[in-house]
Point group: D2
Chain length 228, copies 4
Amino acid sequence: MTKSIYGETFALWRDGCPEPWHAYTHHAFVEGLRDGTLPRRAFLHYLVQDYVFLVHFARAWSLAVVKSETLDEMRYAARTVDALVNHEMALHVKTCAAEGIDEATLFAAREEFENLAYTRYVMDAGLQGDLLDLLAALAPCCFGYGEIGTRLAATAAPDTPYGDWITTYADAGYQDAMRSVGALLDAAVARRLGPDPSASVRWPQLQTRFTTATRLEIGFWDMGLRGK
Amino acid sequence: MTKSIYGETFALWRDGCPEPWHAYTHHAFVEGLRDGTLPRRAFLHYLVQDYVFLVHFARAWSLAVVKSETLDEMRYAARTVDALVNHEMALHVKTCAAEGIDEATLFAAREEFENLAYTRYVMDAGLQGDLLDLLAALAPCCFGYGEIGTRLAATAAPDTPYGDWITTYADAGYQDAMRSVGALLDAAVARRLGPDPSASVRWPQLQTRFTTATRLEIGFWDMGLRGK
Amino acid sequence: MTKSIYGETFALWRDGCPEPWHAYTHHAFVEGLRDGTLPRRAFLHYLVQDYVFLVHFARAWSLAVVKSETLDEMRYAARTVDALVNHEMALHVKTCAAEGIDEATLFAAREEFENLAYTRYVMDAGLQGDLLDLLAALAPCCFGYGEIGTRLAATAAPDTPYGDWITTYADAGYQDAMRSVGALLDAAVARRLGPDPSASVRWPQLQTRFTTATRLEIGFWDMGLRGK
Amino acid sequence: MTKSIYGETFALWRDGCPEPWHAYTHHAFVEGLRDGTLPRRAFLHYLVQDYVFLVHFARAWSLAVVKSETLDEMRYAARTVDALVNHEMALHVKTCAAEGIDEATLFAAREEFENLAYTRYVMDAGLQGDLLDLLAALAPCCFGYGEIGTRLAATAAPDTPYGDWITTYADAGYQDAMRSVGALLDAAVARRLGPDPSASVRWPQLQTRFTTATRLEIGFWDMGLRGK
């Protein structure tokens, strides 16, 4: 297992789908953010869709509170809802406002299929299964953006116009939150799958959920690029 | 483990709470059905509440379809919904009609606290957890009525006026359906907890769900007796 | 309002999005079924995906039972689950078996994005809103296939190899079931929106749900054609 | 309509069940808090149960985020979850700690039937209906405690040992939060029922949900008194 600062469960799931994971975290869209060549229109198209994504992502983390079985699970999940609704979405609002797109317009944006597929798959994972099914579907976005933010902060072109975006995910606030999510995930897994989780009968299905959500991240970047 | 025709999981859970199980399946209300001493008013009070219970029980089995992960799980759960909505509730409707209570009145009956507590606990078990959490909360009603029906069919006073009720749960149709539910449960457990389910970390919580629902069955009989 | 045998609500919603509705019900995929020019590979690709679609559609109709507020709502929804699980899916199984694809393979098929988007959007409509939100998202599939079946049965090329498919949706069993669903929908609307539903404040959102699901049907046919 | 600082919808619902509302807000348990005659054991029994109640109440408000349709709905509901999990529960923890009951014990307390009935009824209202169904079931607790807190702060015996409890619900923080919840409720009603909500066909059912939850509040105080 390749280690991760986000915990053991994530590291195992990421290692369980190396090709989709690389395709997601090193997507042409990401490289365009890094070297600054991403067309502004593609970025804005992505950003509007990502705002709507975060609305449903916050709903999904709220469903995680509904599905929590311990006080710590509840608190971490509730904190993540707060971080999404009151902080991460603010970047989108600020950036879009500078382009003349107000928040009501963002909220009402027509969702692309890739967006619908991803967000609703996550919600349904929570409705169909337990907290682990939901967390497996939430994990690729959380930790993938964490990895991308860290890598891009270290390697981005100095003049990329996407520095604000990179900083949002590279900074200590986001990174600390994701370490907490990773700790929550490891504890939730231990509680439900025991001391050797990857040997449990549920593991393949949880891996499939993680891999599916990773594929949906790739589709999301593809959708972003279509906007150029 | 004491064996049961309804499968291994049920037998383990039943053995995991012998006192509540006995208090439920040998409740004064049940003995009153058996020897015929149960006051008619108590029976009718119970029957009206039980009709509303079955409405929510059918909703809960429908939630089991939503939470199913295999075709067999879906099919058994869907069949159980059909059996509840189109068959078991018919006894209640027929018996109540003979007493001048029509089905619309049944459907609109004000639920007693014990009824609300039980049915909504089951629904929420499904929302909070996975299919096993839901099935653990559904199991005491399914199999307990099966055991009661069989025992009372063999031992009831010949002149008990509650023969129809006893027959409903003793007859081959109900018993076969419950064997199927037991097989579904064993398979669902194997799929999610592996070959040694009672050693899994989730077992205590599933036992607690089963025990809680058993306690709620006792409360339901108590509520029935209050109607006398 | 153009009348429909499936009731008034459907007729209003269909009239509320004439272009997407036509694009869906007269899609090139549909015309290929009608005149027999649809490549076999595209049909099979569609059929495998549609099998998985029906699995989730049955879950969504089960969620409709969970969300029902009247006995009629429960009964119709439960009957639809039964029709889907025990009848409509049988066509897919039979046709696919003839091509050497067994049911376990069908059930485990990897879902295309358009499939995920559609089915999970429907499920989430039910989780987010009430029964009407769910029915608005379920309606385009139910009634659109009804319209397509009827039209194709009257106009298909005599030698189209897709006669079985057309018959499934044109025959009295499916048509009767859809009239029942239409009656259920009209009653559910009257119960929640009153005597002038299209004047209610909720109407635009329900129309949006219907239109979104119609767009997702177009995406589903597009996905089918990609399989050729 | 008797006015309320918590908005019009609440005032209408409260006026729609004057006797249960009075029985709840002027219950012997409440009067015992006011004049200080409530036995300490009853208070502690209540407080432990109320802690578990708040756990599920926070889950229910999280479900409100899941069911929100506007940004304001999401934000208010998310803020309420935060207030519950990170603030209101703190009183219980502090008071119980002083009595030697730690938070893990609180979290694991066996729920009384009245508690199960109430909390799970609220959750299921959200699963079965839309945001209004959920809010109607959440409202009696929110606003009733607000009214009780205000009244007791003005009239309590100076030496009642329950001053901390009274202050929790009388102080500006709680009162402001409940005004916000009232504004959210009025807006959610306007969005879904239009300008004359009490004339809408859904009104009787929403009133029933509010009345049922009010009855469950009465049961909760009864349960508290049983602890003496």
